[in-house]
Symmetry: C3
Subunit: 132 residues, 3 copies
Amino acid sequence: MLTRLTISTPRREVLQEITEAVAEVVRNSGVASGVCYVIVPHTTAAVTLNEAADPAVSTDTINYLAELIPREGLWLHAEGNSDAHIKASLYGHSAIVPIEDGELVLGNWQGIYLAEFDGPRQRLVLVKIIAG
Amino acid sequence: MLTRLTISTPRREVLQEITEAVAEVVRNSGVASGVCYVIVPHTTAAVTLNEAADPAVSTDTINYLAELIPREGLWLHAEGNSDAHIKASLYGHSAIVPIEDGELVLGNWQGIYLAEFDGPRQRLVLVKIIAG
Amino acid sequence: MLTRLTISTPRREVLQEITEAVAEVVRNSGVASGVCYVIVPHTTAAVTLNEAADPAVSTDTINYLAELIPREGLWLHAEGNSDAHIKASLYGHSAIVPIEDGELVLGNWQGIYLAEFDGPRQRLVLVKIIAG
């Protein structure tokens, strides 16, 4: 089972929560036990797990990364988004969440995020489920 | 099969090796061929693979990260651990290790580490095995 | 199925594309639907997905990382490659790509890269396929 979700991101850099959309795919799959992979097939966006309770965590993260890897710089890549490519590779393009009793096994504080580094855009998120 | 390991970390920031505990779960599973996922369901800790031979590698890593992402700063998140959230997302919450002949397939120098960025604490590590 | 690829890297730090070699393993497997894991069993190399169209993206990435995590420094690890260990852990040792209709599901711009941080060397890349 490979499900494609379309997510619209509102600005250039944002951690956008997608936990509920992924959880719904898992519930609809009918798989009781297995693994769920959340994947972005993009090179300037990523997937991460982080605290969903306080939105300040996402803001701190985005602000910190913007300072660490500035958009402007002596980049060779002429499209002006080398910072986004580097951030995406550092964050990684996938997250792995176990499935137990038909539900995602997430920690109390964990949410699943699409990490947008070069929006606003429409992004694709792949949700792949393996039973076992 | 989803196994929960409880790991106590001794200080705020440490790479704590858990290779042997994960290897034991794999051996007990009786799975000859497949994939082992090592996952932390936390937002201020991570999982990584790194050199297990020289403990100076872990020390260099922790010291470097502490300098790159300082605990004190103009963080919005009021709990004083934004640095830990950012480090955890950069490191990632999971590691993937193939299983062959009933054993983890690790490189000669690789060990599996729980990366603690906001301890000391008791942490949960999930070990999920898929046969195939 | 666990396939071992041997990859020669030409210099100390380079993102070396291995998309075609991985795609061939997937085609030879005969698996129509599943997941492909690309894994390096090393501690100073990593796996990442990034833009394959413009080689300047790889150059920008390598140059940026070399500046962020300098090879020379007050490192405790005596082998002179602590920078490579830290970069490898930040990038991660694996990539996950779904398989659909017998082919890797990659985005238009995505390529699979071995990230070499302490070459030139011969490196092993593990390609593990799970059907499902």
